[in-house]
Amino acid sequence: MLLVLLLVYFINHETERSSEYGAEEHSSPLISPNFFIMTKLLEWLLGVSLVAVAWGLVTFDLLGLQLPAVYKEVAWPMPVYLLVVFGCYSLATVGYRVAMFNDCEEAARELKAQIQEAKEDLKKKGLKM
């Protein structure tokens, strides 16, 4: 179910990472905002329903294609798998980023020293607190 969304997300994520602090082009050029506002909510709904339809077609063989039983077996628990995979990916990513969050000790030290310097200089310049 989340396959498309994941794909879209990963693709976006990758372009974002590779752009080296620069700007990548404005995303979602599919539909111009001037004509119709494709909100993020609608994008998600569209993505989810597309995957849901694909999943339904295979799992319940809605088109009567007589697909091999293997297809069905693989397909029906897919939504749960994907959810679990996405959940794990999310936890791992957030965990990793929390662990890697820079502690700017040096910046704090520098600021402290500068505050001292600033106070003395401002006093000299006649600032009364």
Partner: protein, 250 residues
């Protein structure tokens, strides 16, 4: 000679940067931030002005600002006070109206945004011709100081959810240390409806929606030493509300 020189200004020399400093009870921080701004602008040689928008702080921030104006001059320190606390969003609108620069820098006056990054913002802007340059705590050498594990987790978690839902193409949505082209900021402010915390997020999301380009500079965010944060309250709830609103409307 002098007149020929002033007529033949290169575009770089013509650029002027207006720094908007909204203050509410920042009497300890204001002189320090101004001193740092003067220092770094002086060293890098860019043309600038500092616009202090004080909302009638009971601690006498405005009196301090007046003293600073005497020290550094009326052309550098511009005072645009308002009688009472009317909020951060309208403080920016008020400041923009009085800004004479063609670029505007928005930052907090509480020393959590260090002026040393401003020259980097400016170089980044020139390098890519960006409409907006945003400081980011979440990339490269960017980071924070004075945050415990809980705060880091909330911050990273909220950022992850936002990235998944909105795919905004910028890594730091809630930070408010940014440089804008003046006309871009005017257009954005006009369109943004959110209040408080979500305002910063909406600005960058709408910037993307309107096709503006965004550059990013990693910054270190050192939690305020003096005074209290005024935005406190129930930040998480208002953040989620704002996020969902943007999710449904942008």
């Amino acid at each position: 000679m002098a007149s020929r020189k002033s007529n033949k200004k290169t575009p770089a020399e013509a650029d002027k940067y207006s720094v908007l400093l909204p203050t509410y009870n920042e009497r300890e921080n204001l002189p320090l931030i101004v001193w740092l701004l003067v220092k770094y602008f002086g060293e890098s040689g860019y043309n600038y002005e500092i616009i202090v928008i004080d909302d009638g702080s009971p601690d006498g921030t405005l009196q301090i600002a007046e003293q600073l104006q005497k020290i550094y001059g009326k052309d550098k320190i511009v005072l645009r006070p308002r009688a009472k606390k009317l909020g951060l969003g309208t403080a920016y609108v008020h400041g923009i109206k009085h800004a004479t620069g063609n670029f505007i820098i928005i930052m907090d006056a509480d020393l959590s945004h260090h002026p040393k990054f401003i020259p980097q913002f400016i170089e980044k802007q020139k390098e890519g011709g960006y409409d907006l340059v945003s400081g980011t705590r979440y990339r490269g050498d960017g980071g924070v100081y004075g945050w415990d594990l809980r705060r880091k987790l909330i911050s990273r978690g909220a950022n992850f959810i936002t990235q998944v839902l909105l795919r905004p193409g910028a890594s730091d949505l809630t930070g408010s240390f940014r440089l804008y082209k003046k006309e871009v900021l005017e257009r954005l402010v006009e369109r943004c409806v959110s209040k408080g915390y979500v305002f910063q997020m909406e600005m960058i999301v709408r910037a993307r929606q309107l096709g503006y380009t965004v550059g990013e500079v990693p910054i270190s965010f050192v939690d305020r030493v003096y005074g209290e944060s005024k935005l406190g309250g129930n930040e998480i709830v208002s953040f989620l509300k704002g996020l969902l609103t943007l999710f449904a409307t942008t």
